[in-house]
């Protein structure tokens, strides 16, 4: 259809009584009503009416055409993680929808608000194995907070309002709305009412003052209390409250992987990063403390190691908005089912001001041990190839810690989490729970579109980079100013490390023969350089950061570098090792 004629189908005002619009147009207006500015997607047969409606609204909403639906959903995740607003994804039926599954799983386990719209075959074809028909609803049940299929256009406004409400409230998560093609074509009288209540859903638990009193007593009596801060701090916007709570109580704070950037890593009370490849101090001292105050975290197995050897001596206060997380892995002495911000505000008012100098000092001593054994060698190597740790040190220094850091999965992710100085909330974007290789490049695109003020740096291994590198096309087309740093060791480094440590160095299919990444990226019109020499590193990274637009750096790093310290798989956290004993 000529553009002029097509534009005639746009409805100028939906406020007129009796005026009917298509389901497809209604969907776009629903997005505008929810304040959506950016959509990540990929069209196809079953979602074409929605894309046709979108054509007429190109002046009101930006659509980013990715190169794969997985790229779209990871981009939406990156957007949501930095902005706090739900990421929106469009995909078609069948393979378009199934390509979203990894991202849905990732968003589900990492509590990321998404609203995914999938086209579906016409309702009379459901269940007939029609072209590009798949049972998206059943496939996505385990990886969505809620999903719904719409077969009548009149259902669209209410379903969309519910979708946004569910995605962003309580413990956030991904929602999928599957819309049949006939529902997109059908007409409805449009009326939009944002959703604020669902009878069976209670996203904001009422804080129990009795629980707070019990917690205050434990906190005031404790000699070696320890705060474990998860992503719940960021999701509830409680970073200022966490700092105020820690400073008044004098309690050291450790961050989970997803909790990073929720507490300044250069704060004197920052104890370090928890987990299998976290810092030495917080892992060792979890079995020395007398009180754990876990806030918005879920005692993931990568944090706890062997549960039977985890904090057995300590009382546990567990604050979480998701009741099913409390007493799931670690039994809580005091369970506070609440939003982190609300709970912290109540605690701050009632706790006594205290200092725990001796206890805090024990973390500093362990940090010093870690520095001497590991960090100094990682940051300031004098010979050999470039080490991952020195790259992160340079990036941290050059940005002053003011950048959005997007990591993929593997050794580079652990090194970055250990060494980057996070100073600003919501500047850590990574795939934590699902451990999705290929996450970082598309997530960084989304992060760039969700956060305009800070530089966005994607740090990726050579394995993960090649899982979604088709998104270089998206970066090129929209000139998305993402800085891409590949730490290239021609290995699936973390798997190789495990093979070395636990499988007698049998490197079974972990070595990669890579193409010339610089030429490849340059083919996409993105400036790209390779770094092999230590002396060039700082200059190249400075050039990358100063460049106005996307930029790629391929850093050739030590081929068989190991990430330490490490809690061996299945061991207790106190069994963390600083080195391999020969």
């Amino acid at each position: 259809m000529p553009q002029k004629d097509a534009l005639l189908t746009k409805t100028e005002s939906v406020q007129q009584p009796e005026q009917k619009i298509t389901g497809a147009e209604a969907l776009i207006i629903c997005l505008l009503e929810e304040g959506v500015e950016t959509i990540f997607g990929y069209p196809g047969g079953a979602i074409m009416p929605i894309y046709d409606a979108l054509y007429h609204y190109a002046d009101k909403v930006t659509h980013i055409l990715t190169r794969h639906e997985q790229g779209a959903i990871h981009a939406a995740q990156g957007y949501a993680r930095v902005s706090g607003r739900p990421g929106v994804v469009f995909a078609t039926s069948g393979p378009g929808a199934t390509n979203l599954v990894t991202g849905l799983g990732d968003a589900m386990i990492d509590s990321t608000p998404l609203v995914c719209i999938t086209g579906q075959v016409a309702s009379h074809l459901l269940g007939t194995d029609a072209f590009q028909e798949t049972d998206v609803m059943n496939i996505t049940i385990p990886v969505t907070k809620w999903n719904v299929q719409i077969t009548r256009s009149e259902e669209i406004p209410q379903a969309m309002a519910k979708a946004f409400y569910i995605a962003r409230t309580g413990r956030p998560g991904p929602v999928l709305v599957d819309i049949t093609k006939d529902a997109q074509f059908g007409n409805l009288q449009f009326h939009y009412e944002p959703c604020t209540y669902i009878r069976t859903y209670n996203p904001v638990p009422v804080l129990n003052p009795g629980d707070i009193e019990l917690a205050v007593d434990l906190i005031n009596q404790a000699n070696k209390p320890f705060i474990l801060a998860g992503q719940g701090i960021l999701l509830s916007g409680a970073t200022a409250e966490l700092t105020a709570f820690a400073e008044k109580s004098g309690i050291p704070v450790a961050s989970t992987l997803l909790g990073l950037s929720g507490f300044p890593t250069d704060h004197p009370l920052y104890a370090g990063y928890l987990g299998m490849h976290g810092n030495y101090g917080p892992n060792k001292n979890i079995n020395q403390c007398d009180l754990v105050i876990a806030i918005g975290m879920r005692f993931d197995d990568r944090v706890t190691g062997d549960l039977s050897k985890y904090a057995r001596q300590a009382k546990i206060i567990h604050i979480d908005i998701d009741l099913s997380e409390i007493n799931k892995n670690i039994p809580a002495d005091i369970a506070i089912h609440a939003d982190a911000k609300e709970a912290l505000k109540a605690l701050i008012e009632r706790i006594e001001p205290k200092q725990h100098d001796h206890w805090v000092d024990s973390f500093h001593q362990l940090r010093q041990q870690e520095y001497e054994k590991i960090v100094a060698g990682d940051w300031f190597p004098v010979s050999g190839q470039i080490k991952m740790g020195e790259v992160i040190r340079h990036l941290s220094e050059l940005t002053g810690g003011h950048a959005v850091i997007v990591t993929d999965v593997g050794q580079h992710q652990m090194v970055t989490s250990r060494y980057f100085t996070y100073k600003t909330p919501r500047t850590n974007v990574t795939s934590g729970g699902l451990g999705t290789m290929g996450f970082a490049l598309p997530a960084a695109m989304g992060a760039r579109l969700g956060e305009k003020d800070l530089p966005v740096i994607a740090i990726i291994g050579d394995g993960g980079f090649q899982m979604t590198l088709q998104e270089l096309g998206t970066i090129f087309q929209y000139n998305i100013a993402v800085k891409i740093v590949v730490l290239n060791n021609n290995f699936l480094g973390m798997v190789r490390q495990w093979q070395q440590l636990f499988f007698e160095s049998r490197y079974s299919f972990t070595e990669m023969v890579n193409p010339d990444f610089v030429k490849l990226v340059q083919a996409y019109g993105i400036p790209a350089v390779e770094v092999t020499r230590r002396e060039e590193l700082s200059h190249v990274l400075s050039t990358m950061l100063a460049h106005n637009g996307p930029y790629f750096v391929d850093v050739k790093v030590e081929k068989e570098e190991n990430v330490f310290p490490m809690v061996p798989s299945g061991a207790g956290v106190s069994d963390m090792i600083l080195e391999v004993k020969k």
């Binding site: 609803m137 049940i141 907070k145 809620w146 999903n147 719904v148 569910i166 069976t200 099913s324 007493n327």
Partner: protein, 95 residues
């Protein structure tokens, strides 16, 4: 030690909610010995699913909490054993 539990789930009768519940049990490899599901006579938008499950007390507690989290679920009622609802039959020989 595994034993029988009767879990009644009161929920809005949206498409897929029954599948969501079954998925929650399957995911933890909890055996479903019996399942009865029906719409409420006075409100067809709501329904009840009654499961007789065979699992440990700890697993039962945890999975119940996960089922209660589903958007459509209003509440659950848990009873140890199955005497009120379940007539032992051939299923008892399956372990």
């Amino acid at each position: 030690m595994k034993k029988e539990f009767t879990l009644e789930v009161f929920a809005d009768n949206n498409f897929n909610i029954l599948n969501r519940m079954i998925n929650a049990f399957n995911r933890r490899r909890i055996r479903i010995k019996s399942l009865t599901a029906y719409e409420l006579e006075d409100n067809r938008l709501s329904g009840v699913a009654r499961f007789i499950l065979y699992t440990t007390s700890e697993n039962m507690r945890k999975v119940r909490s996960q089922v209660e989290k589903f958007i459509e679920v209003e509440r659950t009622v848990l009873v140890e054993g199955s005497a009120a609802y379940y007539v032992p039959g051939k299923q008892d020989t399956v372990h």
